[in-house]
Structures are given as structure tokens and as C-alpha cells.
Symmetry: C3
Subunit: 307 residues, 3 copies
Amino acid sequence: MKGRDIISAFDFAREDFMRLFNEAKICEKKRTLRIAEDKMAITVFLEPSTRTRLSFTAAMLKIGGKVMDFGGIEASALMKGESFEDTIRMIDGYDPDVIIIRHKVEGSAKMAADIAEHPVINGGDGMHEHPTQALTDLYTMYKTFGKIDGLRVALLGDLKHGRTLSSLSYALSMFNDVKLYCIAPPILQMRPEVVEKIKDKMPCKFYNSLEELDEEIDVLYVTRIQKERFTDLQEYERVKGSYIVSPTLLSKLKKIPIVMHPLPRVNEITTDVDAMPQAKYFEQATNGMYVRMALLAEVMGLKIPAE
Amino acid sequence: MKGRDIISAFDFAREDFMRLFNEAKICEKKRTLRIAEDKMAITVFLEPSTRTRLSFTAAMLKIGGKVMDFGGIEASALMKGESFEDTIRMIDGYDPDVIIIRHKVEGSAKMAADIAEHPVINGGDGMHEHPTQALTDLYTMYKTFGKIDGLRVALLGDLKHGRTLSSLSYALSMFNDVKLYCIAPPILQMRPEVVEKIKDKMPCKFYNSLEELDEEIDVLYVTRIQKERFTDLQEYERVKGSYIVSPTLLSKLKKIPIVMHPLPRVNEITTDVDAMPQAKYFEQATNGMYVRMALLAEVMGLKIPAE
Amino acid sequence: MKGRDIISAFDFAREDFMRLFNEAKICEKKRTLRIAEDKMAITVFLEPSTRTRLSFTAAMLKIGGKVMDFGGIEASALMKGESFEDTIRMIDGYDPDVIIIRHKVEGSAKMAADIAEHPVINGGDGMHEHPTQALTDLYTMYKTFGKIDGLRVALLGDLKHGRTLSSLSYALSMFNDVKLYCIAPPILQMRPEVVEKIKDKMPCKFYNSLEELDEEIDVLYVTRIQKERFTDLQEYERVKGSYIVSPTLLSKLKKIPIVMHPLPRVNEITTDVDAMPQAKYFEQATNGMYVRMALLAEVMGLKIPAE
């Protein structure tokens, strides 16, 4: 994938996922590599982010590379009225080996990639996409089940605003026999334009609550429902309880699935789930670093040494 | 000390101090080492700090390692409602070789160490402890006097709120024949629970002002008295003068001690003390970096090459 | 230039510029070097800055070195009342191989250099100087014209408040037969103390607008005019149009010069200039990184390997 931009989960082909997973496993085993010693990444997080930035930074350091952070938007020239285009052109001019960008506007990562000569990785653009989170999520499923084909994945919570879930759905749709269960209050169901892109490739069923779910699932992917998304607060009060995952709620399912979450978790998964073997959300964050080590290496044209 | 957490000054034994001092001397002589090239520290400073963070960062870089900073609390997921426990678990999942943490709550470093699998170093937890400052302070005394045993150390200023002084007192109590002189306005005297831990190991005398001190001392350790600690501002106005260390005030002592300060200094030591050979506070900051090089190496199981 | 402080453009001699330009060219060709692997720079930007900080950071990383950032002023001990002198002494005590400082007060870099034992590079001190921007600017002219001698350089915009333009003028004055054209509204003309330092070495002509310019120029160096500099807003409204550089405005000149700008650009150069071969401002930012690689190496006593 040398020199390629990673803007959407669709920028990965099925075989890219499989190769990256195998490379991530090697990274995890070796812990550190010295393949990127002359390489520099620039992280440009124009929207607050801790974990995506840390994950990429740790990944770059652990393959031996260097990271330069653009700094917060408050202190930047963007606040002096500089255009996004000028900022990207300037950053690109520092000859980074890869640019990782997060921005609150949909399409900003694509715009950056169009301007920059160096490869751009989308670290989240508004509600649009977050392809490396999808990579992380699939890697976690792959490590657990040894495959992605045939998995039954339920998405729970706010499916409307999460870029994580769009990218995850796109990624899953590239595999065979995956079934998707979208569980959300009607006003927070997956956006039509997201469904449009996957519905011909993967069966999707829609539910209003987890209790309605009538089939066995392998994965329960939880996201938080934010109070401020509701115009009708009574509606919020009515639904919030069914979107808090607890051992009790899980035990009502036909089979206990693994529980995933992009983090940070607030109260949508109770802490007594943490000790269950099915709780995968902390491992998921760690997996994200290993699979980003693999991705950064590929994008910069570096070889992960065979085991 | 490979893999050990450093939460309290009591986590060092007397022989740990002596070994670290010798290693720090080698670090100071060599200036840089290449022993930590595959190692990564994560610094997590959830309370504003410049110098402890810089000191650890410089130390890690100078032994050849890499540092990833968590970033300020404002931008972090903690602000989105994530629990401290989840944050630590996530950080620990990035497989750092050491975690350095500062937090305003007493006991937070201990809590982090209990959660994390990787070693945790306490960079200051509320009013509780700051063990590496104590290490720095003792190293400075050791470099000056060639020993810690038998030193007579006076602490001056706000002895109640300073975690620095608790840790320093604990550290000194592990040596032989050390005498401690606690000089503070009554409302800012050392907390009973701190005194309790040292009083059987080391004689402590209490004074209201430096003028009352009737014995020779080797070390005068100064800390700032903050106006806002006083409910009675007249009381503040009355005492503040006796807590400003000047060449004149020093000359009234039976013997001029070395003057130490954890920095930043505001006006509690007048700048005309800076040129006196007894002024050790800037050297103290530098010593802190060298002794942290030694400590980081030990905690990560790395060998400082013999001279 | 090993161990030297770089406070003013006058700290460079003509032959320093030429040697640095040749070294910068080698850096640009090689992209990365491994000559500074045991070296550490500390960046201290006490005034918001993105690009100077990034440029120095990228430069240091690309010659193989490490960078430690002091962090924003908000979080620092300076906010607790520590003096600038104490801060510099502390930073200097961390044994950095070079200190890069920006501060809003004129003369602060000089003061830092007087205190610090390690070399200090001025990254901008108030309205005073910004010597490495001048280095960047001259390198860009040199790359374009193969020489600095004999160039005719017009400065356009706010010539009063820009440290960039003072340093650039000083630097140009060291070369032969350079002519300077200062184009600004009367209240924003170059300060007398700046003119004083150059007028005997280099002919300077003063204009109120670009339309008045009656000679061919090689370089048009544009800076922004900020509304808030005017006490009389009608005056601002009257002049602002003539300080916006567009293809049309450029086509009215006897010969189209190269267009330079220290960036960030807001609207003082229209974006349709960007595609013109004369637009050099983005290349200029990139050049800044390469020439800083050369400068950092020289100041730290490191040799750039011959091509």
C-alpha cells in the first residue's frame, strides 16, 4: 500500500485486511521494530482526540519512527485565518513520510489527501469515516474468531452520528456471509447513505432495542447514546436503560457475544462486564496500536520482517 | 528495581539510593547513553507541571528512549466522562515500558500502579508524595557532602501542603543520625500523619521561624508560602518576612547552610542568594534529570554501563 | 558556528549564508541524516507559533536528533510567578544541545543567550528579529536566482511591526548591490531604527503603494496588514485594496517578480496567484526546514556530509 492515502474503509480490500492482520500479529509478538528510523509522521488533530492520536504515535514510535505533532488548533495559524488548504500545503512541505489527520468536517481528510503529495491517513472526519478504527475492530474480531467471514455483528447505541460505525460497516461488507444487526432508537438509526453502501453486499436488520433481537450474535459493538442528541428528553429517559450493557442484559441473549466498544466508555457498559472473558474493549484499544504499526509500515513502504 | 512501581519515597531502600546516586554520576559524566533505544515512556500529567515533566522527558531522551505525552487533561477523554481507571487501562495497553503520572488526587499513583501491568512512577499525587523529587534532593545533598548520614536538614516555609517535603522527610529518615528541623508558621507545620511516619527514626524539632533556630544546620530547604493558605491575612503579613531567604538572613545563622528549593522560586529566596556558592537550587534541577536517567534505566531493567 | 547564539540576522556573515545555503541543498537532496542521534533541542515558544516551531522540530528530527518542547505558557511555572531568568536557567540545566526560543518581548532571546551556557537560537522576539526566517528567505532567493547580490527586493504591507522584515533587511544589507523598496502606508512604514541600520549599506526607497513603484523588481515580499493596526478605520478601508496581491496587480508591474510571504497568508495574496510559477511562498516554508537542518547542525558542531 506504499504511498496510498487511507480515507475510507473502502480503501482497504479484503486481502489488505488479511495481510495487515498477519503483520499486526508479528508486531504484537516483536513489540518493537527498527524499520522506520529515518521516517517522520505528522499528526494533525484539529478536533480533540486522545486515543487515536496516542495510538498512532505509539505505533510510529514502536516501529522506530519519529512523530511531530501539529499541536492544538487554538495555538495554530488556522486561528489567524489561514485556510485549511494552506495549512495542509505547509505541513506537506515539511516532507513527512505520512500525515495523520482528524478534522470535524466531513471530507476534510479527502481534501487533505488531494492537496498533499505525501500519504494521508484519515483519523476521523466528522461523522463520515474512521477507517483505522474499523481496521482495529476487524482485527479484534479476527483475533477472537480466527475469521471475519460468517460473523454476526450487532451494533448498539447511536448508529447515526458515529463515523466509527460507518467505517466498520463498510469494512464488514467486504467479507462473506457477515450479518449486521443495527440496534438503535429510531432517531439514532444508521443514516440512509451508509445503509445504501452496504445493503446489497450484506444483510442488515434493524431493531429498536436489544431485547427485540431474535438471533444469536457473535459480536455486540456498543457505542454511547448522548443525551444531547435528543430533542425530546422524555424519549431519552425512556430508552437510555436498554442501551446500558450489563451482565444481566447480556445473559438474556441466546448466546453471550464478545463486547466491543471504541472507547471512551462512560456508563453504557457497566464496569462489572469488564471481568467477563467476552469483554474485548481494552484489548481492542491495544490491538489498534499493533494494526496501526502494520498500516504505517505499509503506507511508508517498509517491510515488517517475517516472524 | 526492574518492573517496580515507585509510588512513595519508602519504595527506595537506603542501598537503592546509594546505587542510584552512583549511576546518576555516571550519567552526568557521559551526558547521553544509548541503552533505551527500543523503550517508550508515557508521561501523564493531569495537573499542570513543567519541570517534573521536562525532567523525566529529558532523562528518557538522554538514555536513548522515546517519550509519548498523554497531553493536557482539557483535550482528553477524561473530560468526556471516562473514568481514571479506564484511562490508565488504555494507556497501559499501549505497552509502555514505564508510565509517569501526576494527578491532583492523593493515592492516584498507587491506584494507577494497581491497575497497570507496566511500572508506574509517581510524579506527584496531590499533597501526598513526590518520590523522585526526594531522590533529586538527596542526590544533591550527597553530591555536596559525600554522604547523607549525619546531615542536619532544616525545612522552611509551607510544610503542610508540600508533597515534596513529605517524600524528602521519608527519604531522610532511612539514613543514620540525620536531624530534621521543621520551620513553619503553626498553621503550615508538617502534617501529623507525616510526622508520625518519621518521628521514631529521626529526631525532628519544630520552630516558628528561622530566627529561633539554635543549632548549626547543613541544609536549608526552602519552599514558598502561598498567601491563599492563610484565612487571616494579617497573620500572613506578619510572618511572610521571616520566610524570605536573603544573604542577610543566612548570615545570621551559626553556619551558612546550602540552600535548596524544588523550584519554581518566586520571591522566597532573593536573587542575590543565587551567586552564593551555597545556592544549590539550579544544580538541584539538573541533578534531578541525571538521577531520573538512572531511575528510568533501573525500572526498565537496563544497565548503566560502568564508567 | 559551533556553540554560537543566533539572536540577530547580523549574527550571520555573508560567508555563513553561502555555506549554510550549500549545506541546506545537501540536506534537501538527502532528506534525512543521522548526524544528531545523541543531540537534544529544547523548543520554548512562549508566544503562539505553529510553523516556526514545526519547522525547527522537523529539521531536528530529520538530522536524527530529539526534540523536547517546553509546552505552552499557560501550563508553565512562568504562570506561577517564576522569572524568565529562572526558567531559562532551569531549561539550560537540562543540558540541551540547543535552545530555540520565541517570546513576545524584544530582547528576550538575547537575555536567554546571556543566561544560558548552551547555544540559543532566536525564533522571534517581539517586533525585534526573526533571524532564521531571514535565512529561509534568502535561501529561497538564492535557489531562484543563484545569487543574492544585485537583487531588487520590494517589501509590501505592514513593515513596521514585522520582525521578519527587520531581519530580512539586515540580511540583505550584507550583500552587494541589493536594492530595497519599502512599500507601505505611511503609518506602517519601516521603523527608523531598522532603516538606520541598513541605509548606509543598501539603497532603500519608500513608497505608499505598489502602483507608485517605478522600477523593475526581482522579489515581492508580501506581509499582511492587520486592521487593528489602524486607529483610523477609514484609512484602513482606503488602503487595504492596494495591498492585496493578485495576478492582475502583478501584471501591472514592469516585470513579474517572484512572490514571497512568511505565511500564514490570509487574503493578502489571492489564491489564484498560487498556481503562478512566481509564487514561492509554499516552497519558502519547505526551504526553511532545510536551511534550519543546516543551521542546527552547525550550531551543534555537526558536519553535514558532502554530497
